[in-house]
Amino acid sequence: MINNEIKINSLLGLLEVVKGISDLNYQIRVWIQGVGPECDDFDETVNNFVDFEECIKERYKEYEMTVKQRDIYIKFRDLFREFADDNDFVLDFDAEKWQIIMDLAKEVLKAFDDHPYVVEARKAGQLPWENRKDF
């Protein structure tokens, strides 16, 4: 069992990583052009995804995920991790596959829009990707 604070932090953190993966403008602005204020790139995205995932893996019920949320999340995770192993985003990458991953990331965000942690954070005005952080 892990405590609620860690569950909320890790799921919202992971979804914010997914938000970056869904957003081509963000990737061009931050990952490629290096225009802040965010300090982020593809490698950090992968590493942060894995860090947040560390708590979530196989604990879908504890994280109050519905079957639909769990299934889309697993589908996304497996495809993204496979892509991350073989692509670096600097020299070259499989653009066709990346488009599929970006589309799937949007589906993940849509599926999790009514997750209790997301709903609560939004109500409190603390949903990270809807409230720009002062970096």
Binding site: S10, D43, C55, D88
Partner: protein, 128 residues
């Protein structure tokens, strides 16, 4: 720049086969050195029971709390091709309760420059 990016890609290819294989810290360092990357001394104060892994990207070393999945420390080499000055030098990221912290132990957003602590300024004593 191009050479740095190429080196990173070659390292990634070489290291990915060790991802799910349990290795000692010494073995991990050897594997990373074989890719041409340096490793840095284990930050003082990391308990000996922490799990050690190669970072998923970037030829770094990750130290994970054996029971608390929200706590980890990642030591990353610099990469000359990064658009961010914070990532051109070796840096450390620390997660506690699945939140990043800065060099003083304050919670910061994981995309904040402050979440990328220059290795030379990092001390576990300052954040505990």
């Amino acid at each position: 720049m191009q050479a740095s990016a190429y080196k990173a890609r070659q390292a990634q290819k070489a290291l990915k086969k060790y991802k799910n294989i349990p290795l000692t810290e010494a073995e991990i360092r050897t594997k990373i050195h074989e890719t041409g990357y340096k490793t840095y001394p284990r930050p003082e104060g990391i308990p000996s029971n922490y799990i050690v892994e190669i970072s998923d990207k970037g030829a770094g070393i990750k130290y994970m709390h054996p029971k608390d999945c929200g706590t980890s420390i990642r030591v990353m080499p610099g990469k000359a091709h990064s658009p961010f000055p914070y990532q051109r030098q070796p840096y450390v990221t620390v997660k506690r309760k699945s939140k990043n912290i800065d060099k003083f132990g304050n919670e910061v957003h994981f995309k904040s420059p402050k979440a990328h602590i220059p290795l030379l300024e990092f001390s576990l004593r300052n954040i505990e």
